[in-house]
Amino acid sequence: MRRIPYVSVVLALFGAFVIASWVATPAQAQQTKKFKASAIQVFEVECDEVKLPPAFEMALYENLIDQVRKTGKFERIYRDGERGAADEANLVTLHSKVLGFKEGSERLRQVTTVAGATSIKVHVRIADRSGQSLVDRDVTGKVVFFGENLRATHNLAKSVAKIVRQNF
């Protein structure tokens, strides 16, 4: 009986893998469908249910604007209550609601390394002009090892910017 060479088996497997990836590509493209918008309005952070210190609230809001601006996906970025946003035809809105907050200790982090982490969990919703949700995600920002407590808001805003990049 003639034996099948090892090389041909490897080649066949490789070919099958390539074909499978071609077949999978349209489905993946559908999953990462990108939205288009020329402007975004970042709303004030909602913290009705969970008490968030005012410094964290404002730092999160400012960092969100900063990080969304850095994505370069929008021509104009409007703040909460800013006049002019209402006239934008292709506007999306970014809403964030605080779900959880644990204020750690910078001293504890520096002394023990493993304890004293600060974390904030926020539900992020990006909606179109009609109010229909385009993106609905829970995002967590943490400071585990180094940095001051407010750094958690910076890390969270960076995660939100990543979501924006993936979807726009």
């Binding site: 249910e49 210190p53 404002m58 400012e62 006049r83 002019g84 910078e106 974390s119 967590t140």
Partner: protein, 172 residues
């Protein structure tokens, strides 16, 4: 005889009263060693400067960079006490490489700071947040001055600094 005396008294009164009034109205109250954490447009983050509170505005100056916030536009002011490492900056970074976990030991030595948070809306109605770090004990004084000059604060200075209700805090 009464007329010249009246005139002298009037002139003397003007001389005494006018400079004092102008000094009170114009001279802003300055707080030095203030760190701008974030929020002011055109000013770098974590830069040290002076905070001036005058009748119409709050002004932050750090070298050539400066930014103003109109007192009437301030919607809320919050203060909070915190602490940070006594030895920070470049020296603090170098301490990380010191032997026998000296860095951890040095982290135990800390100094008190005050955090001042402002929430305001600009001329377009856009919401802004500004955070400053002040030397210990300065934030309530600055807040008092700002409230006296017409800024709005939802929590009175006396009530601030009390610990928030821990029951409302939720773990993520």
């Amino acid at each position: 005889m009464a007329k010249p005396l009246q005139g002298i008294l009037l002139v003397a009164g003007c001389l005494l009263a006018c400079p004092t009034a102008s000094v009170v109205a114009q001279e802003p109250v300055a707080t030095s060693n203030v760190v701008h954490v974030l929020g002011l447009e055109g000013v770098k983050k974590k830069i040290k400067g002076k905070l001036f509170v005058s009748s119409g505005e709050v002004r932050f100056e750090a070298g050539t960079a400066k930014a103003e916030v109109a007192m009437a536009s301030i919607q809320d002011i919050f203060t909070n006490a915190d602490n940070k490492r006594l030895i920070g900056g470049k020296l603090g970074m170098l301490a990380m490489f010191a032997p026998y976990e000296s860095d951890r030991f040095l982290s135990l030595f800390r100094k008190g700071i005050d955090v001042l948070t402002l929430k305001y809306r600009d001329a377009k109605g856009a919401l802004h947040g500004v955070i400053f770090i002040l030397p210990k004990g300065q934030a309530p004084l600055v807040k008092k001055q700002m409230v006296a000059q017409g800024a709005h604060a939802s929590i009175p200075v006396e009530e601030e600094g009390q610990k928030p209700d821990r029951k409302q805090e939720r773990k993520p």
